[in-house]
């Protein structure tokens, strides 16, 4: 039996990033509390690390913010209060869901608006094409040109 294969598998598993994700130990009175905590830290972005959430980052700041989230939860704060606290200090960048506000309207609806504009333009263009008269049979002059071309290239004129 090849003893190296299981060893290799174990090594590969150990290298998977998930295994290195923060191993803090937080205690919760109920499993729903723990789930709430997990959801919160999954949806909060670490301000220091380009696009990692605070649950997956081992930056010291991420650890501090996880601790802060836990402390605030234990103090009875709601999810909204915790997110507001962090946004007050770090800005909207810290949430993965930008809030719907006048200045984020373009971000939220821009792509849809663009698609609708393109669809409308396309529709107008197709309609205009449809209105043009369909080509009829060739007129005599065009017929002559066709014959000349066909002769030149060796086809039988029909």
């Amino acid at each position: 039996m090849n003893a190296r294969l299981p060893l290799l598998l174990v090594l590969l598993l150990a290298l998977m990033p998930a295994a290195w994700a923060a191993i803090d130990v937080y205690e919760f009175k109920e499993p729903e509390q723990e789930q709430r905590f997990r959801n919160l830290i999954d949806e909060l972005r670490c301000p220091k690390c380009q696009n990692q959430n605070i649950s997956g980052s081992d930056a010291p700041l991420a650890k501090d913010l996880r601790q802060k989230t836990y402390d605030m939860m234990q103090a009875g704060k709601s999810n909204g209060e915790i997110v507001d606290y962090l946004v007050e200090r770090y800005g909207d960048f810290v949430t993965y869901r930008p809030p719907l506000r006048p200045d984020t309207l373009l971000l939220w609806f821009g792509p849809f608006a663009f698609m609708i504009v393109v669809a409308l333009l396309l529709r107008a263009w197709i309609k205009r094409r449809a209105r043009e008269p369909a080509p009829t049979a060739l007129d005599p002059r065009e017929r002559e040109r066709l014959d000349a071309l066909l002769n030149r290239y060796g086809e039988e004129p029909k």
């Binding site: 220091k48 501090d64 770090y90």
Partner: protein, 182 residues
């Protein structure tokens, strides 16, 4: 408008849009994606009560940092850039600029010997071992330097090394503007 002209204008629109987009993207290339704008611009310093690094029996609050246009410099001994900007801070302190330090997530004995060896430009140094003042300020990396006006209102945040260029280009114009306003 003749049909040909109209058609040509319509065809030019995507090209125009593309050129505009190209311009915006080109400008975006010189932006630093890691830079976060501070949420505290034009807001007062957060309330705090923390120990003086050199005198642990003394408590410092935001009121202690009011009275003059000043700098609040977030630093630590584990931060190499802080060592790089240190001579500039010493120079500014000699020129009479009040500099208040926040020793961020550090150890007191390391910080004190660092200041002994390299010199101390700070009028007051706040010990923020847990980083709570850092969170309240929105600190996401050291060094960071905040420009305060006389009332302790934050007017600007500089992230990264404070060198002569940053002082001349970012701080001096703003300091002059603050002085003119008052």
């Amino acid at each position: 408008m003749s049909p040909t002209l109209r058609r040509n204008l319509l065809l030019a629109l995507p090209l125009l849009g593309f050129v505009i987009l190209l311009g915006l993207l080109w400008r975006g290339l010189s932006n630093d994606p890691r830079l976060l704008p501070s949420m505290l611009i034009d807001k007062p310093l957060p309330t705090f009560a923390m120990t003086d690094l050199k005198n642990p029996s003394r408590t410092i609050t935001a009121d202690d940092l009011k009275g003059k246009i000043s700098l609040v410099n977030v630093w630590a001994t584990w931060c190499p850039s802080c060592q790089i900007e240190h001579p500039t801070l010493l120079k500014l302190a000699k020129q009479g600029v009040p500099i208040y330090g926040v020793n961020y997530k550090d150890q007191r004995h390391l910080a004190l010997s660092w200041l002994d060896q390299l010199g101390d430009p700070y009028a007051i140094n706040i010990e923020d071992a847990a980083g709570q003042l850092g969170i309240d300020l929105g600190v996401y990396g050291a060094p960071e330097t905040y420009l305060l006006d006389k009332n302790g209102v934050i007017r600007y945040r500089h992230v990264g090394v404070l060198d002569d260029q940053a002082w001349a280009e970012e701080f001096l114009p703003r300091i002059r503007a603050i002085e003119e306003q008052s």
